[in-house]
Amino acid sequence: MNVVAKTETGRALGEAFAVVRDRLPGKGKIADRRREAFDAYERLGLPHRRIEDWKYTDLRALMREVLPLAPLPDAAALKRAAGAVTAHAIDGVVRLVLVDGTLAPDLSDLGSLEKGLSIRALREVLDSGDGELSAQAFASDNSNPMVALNGAMATDGVVIDVAAGTVLSKPVHIVHVASGAAPVAMFTRSLLRLGRDAGATLAESYLAAEGAKAYQAHDGLVIAIGDNARLDHVRFVEDTVDAFNISSATVSLGAHAHFNTFGMTTGGHVSRYQLTVACAGEHSKVETNGVNLINGKQHADTTLFMDHAVPNCASREIFRAVVDDRAHSVFQGRIIVRPDAQKTDAKMMTRALLLSDDAEADNKPELEIFADDVTCGHGATTGALDESLLFYMRARGLPEKEAQALLIQAFVGEAIESIASDALRDVAIAAAQRWLAARG
């Protein structure tokens, strides 16, 4: 047996799991999986800087402890959450609201779904004993401690199925809300499956009710995209400035499938998004784009693992970070091209813009190529705003802040332009403009 010295907080969490495990949905095999996941987490503990993947995001130093599990939201919590949901509403979507880690049916559009779309609460799926589905929702990597912890503790989430051949007319929008009465942790896990030839748009937002206490959002998303199906995915991290958001998404693509994803982080004190994408079918196509707009003492980490396992697939990453004050942006992008994955076309470009002397950006692109007939490349740049451009713009009458704002918008624009949905692209542009306006 592996013996690891436990920290105080490690012990506290172990006791907490013992207390809450009977409250968690799913018995039998699911309970066994939770136990295994929790054991895996306990062996590793909160990740720290001596683990290569977590070098820039040392959760032992930044987070120190996992907060107690959030209670089921009461009427007051739901009311507070509803206010936040309204304030961040996106028109024309099927909205699914998770409050403190629990699906809130009254705030969600669960009735009269279009044909070919099915939505269930994860809690119900786990309690129903659907072994295959439960196994898929929990098919994740216990070697990653935070994914393992999520698997052990997940209280609820949504299971979304889009039937073969169905192209959804409206985006599905999962809204994670912290009601914020007490400092707690929420653990959610969701599953999205697209059948062959299906098409869907998924948006995700992370937010909190006004005046929310510091909280932790731990989310896990599992996505399976069938042959010749297409998923457009957009996520907005708009948590409060003292919140933690530790999320992961695990995506697999069938043959001729297409996955276009965009993430924007403007909120949260510390956020880490671990995206793992596997091209499992030939001729699949992946576009992974993202923008960080952070200031103050924010820390935002996007860690991407792009796995090319089969031939003839293409992947593109465009990532832009704008970092002000003492904020810290991290982008780690690892592309692996396995021996069979000939004719892979993979390119990754990350750029960071530092707006202050104390801002920090770490870019770590990694290519591991085991096939010999591939086109792969990556580039990374970090710099300040170009003084000669600023002077030109000021000489035309634009005050310095306005000139900077135009250049920053242009800088993040290339990544934002990649969003396929006009409505969601507008949401991203508006979020960037709000951030710029708040700079003054």
Binding site: L389, F391, A395, R396, G397, A403, Q409, A410, G413, E414
Partner: protein
């Protein structure tokens, strides 16, 4: 009161003094040419008038309608009516020309306490100006100067000059990088903007440009000073004899 008055201007860049007491007076309606060899300080003068960072003014004054220009930010100078046409206009990827011009014009109007101009009104105005300068509409939709030829970049500078209607235009080496046809188009654009209220300061190394934009006054700069001033015939004289005589004089 003069429109633009440069008095005994002394400017340093890092440890080196570039301008050693330069004076120049410009009144409405006048076109002044400033000529001189490379390194004489012509471009430094234009940059300091526009407010480019990196220059230290160690002595002298620049007054614009009697106000101290050196106390103003570059954007304030623009709003007051000072325009610099750049020798090398920068490219700004991701910011459309259209959007940039609209934002800049409104920033100037706001600074002057005027009402902002709406998108449709701006569109109409910019279309008219673009047409008069033979600038195709699609250039306005592209990133500022991105992928523009040398001639297109200079025409874009003149477009801005026409749009902002400044009181004084400083044209910094407008002829650099232009072939003779592109030069003629640019010069026609500038000539169309000559008016009794507006002054121009044309900075150039070569006399050629002055065949197209005929100045009222010519000043020869050498080693950071104006060493000789005269009428337009001075430019022709320079073309014959070169700058060497003035380098000795300085």
């Amino acid at each position: 009161m003069s429109l633009l008055e440069v008095k005994d201007l002394q400017v340093r860049v890092e440890d080196r003094e570039i301008l050693h007491g330069l004076s120049l007076t410009v009144n409405p309606g006048q076109v002044h040419a400033i000529m001189g060899p490379n390194g004489s300080g012509k471009s430094t003068l234009s940059h300091v008038i526009a407010g480019k960072p990196g220059y230290e003014v160690t002595g002298g004054q620049i007054l614009f309608r009697g106000e101290d220009l050196l106390e103003m930010d570059p954007n304030e100078r623009a709003a007051k009516g000072v325009f610099l046409a750049f020798q090398y206009p920068v490219e700004i990827p991701g910011v459309t020309t259209w959007n940039f011009l609209h934002a800049a014009l409104n920033a100037q109007r706001k600074a002057r306490g005027e009402e902002e101009i709406s998108s449709p009104a701006f569109l109409k105005k910019v279309r008219e100006v673009a047409k008069s300068l033979n600038i195709p509409q699609d250039m306005l939709k592209r990133g500022v100067n991105v992928g523009f030829s040398g001639g297109e970049k200079k025409r874009n500078e003149i477009l801005q000059m026409a749009l902002f209607e400044p009181a004084v235009c400083i044209l910094d080496e407008m002829d650099s990088g232009l072939d003779i046809d592109a030069l003629r188009i640019a010069a026609d654009g500038v000539n169309a903007l000559r008016s009794p209220e507006r002054a121009m300061v044309v900075i150039t190394h070569y006399q050629r440009l002055l065949n197209y934009i005929v100045p009222d006054f010519v000043h020869v700069m050498s080693k950071g000073r104006v060493v000789k001033s005269g009428g337009k015939e001075l430019a022709l004289e320079l073309e014959e004899s070169g700058y060497a005589q003035f380098e000795d004089a300085a």
